[in-house]
Symmetry: C2
């Protein structure tokens, strides 16, 4: 126990084997220990790290962000971790705002569209077609 092949590790972390190797190549995981045969061997440290990556991604962090987060985590710098999380929160809020604006615009058009009749009466088509600020 606590000694895992790459396949077991991948399965327990819920990612693909290729993804594990991809993360290693891209410095999200440290170079794995090897058996005499060249096979990679992992312990619970790597499993935790891999799950950390998965969860951080689920929270909207990019792999670059995750690399940074892992470094901060390794050096126990809570203040920087918190600031990184706040920045990400700001990013996410901005993406939401952008989508909300789009939704509001599209919603207005859909609501105003009778769904039948002449094409010239369709506000959706008109909004896309008519002359406006280029």
């Amino acid at each position: 126990m606590s000694s895992l092949s790459i396949g077991q590790l991948a399965k327990q972390a819920g990612v693909a084997i290729d993804t594990v190797r991809y993360y290693e190549r891209n410095a999200l995981l440290p170079p794995a220990g090897r058996l005499a045969s060249g096979y990679r061997r992992y312990g619970t440290t790597e499993l935790k790290r891999l799950r950390f990556i998965r969860r951080a991604k689920a929270l909207g962090f990019s792999l670059d962000d995750v690399r940074e987060l892992l470094a901060l985590s390794d050096e126990h710098d809570i203040a920087k971790v918190k600031r990184a999380a706040e920045r990400k929160l700001g990013d996410i809020a901005q993406r939401i705002e952008e989508l909300e604006r789009i939704r509001a615009g599209l919603n207005t058009l859909v609501a105003a569209c009778p769904g039948h009749g002449r094409a010239e009466a369709c506000p959706i088509l008109n909004a896309l077609t008519l002359e406006q600020a280029p």
Copy 2:
């Protein structure tokens, strides 16, 4: 007037020349008329169509969506246009929900983080590190 080179068209539509050719290759614009020299020539129809594409993209439609919208627009099928817009509205709503969930999760963590002290006391790091549903 009303006869435009690709450069003039691109400028008036607010896109790059390469983008115009890219759209033509990908059937968002019909094959352009040509001068004897092989240079493309455009009229106001193409300018309108190009602006249509720009606006639809701004509303969150992918180029595949736009192709569909243009086809529906060409055949004056208002009902289908409205349904396509409603589907897109649903997509957008879903993306917003997803981001809201992420924001809520991250926000809770950030709010609970003191920003100093032991790494074990940082809820952000803990959330990423601790054993949970894999």
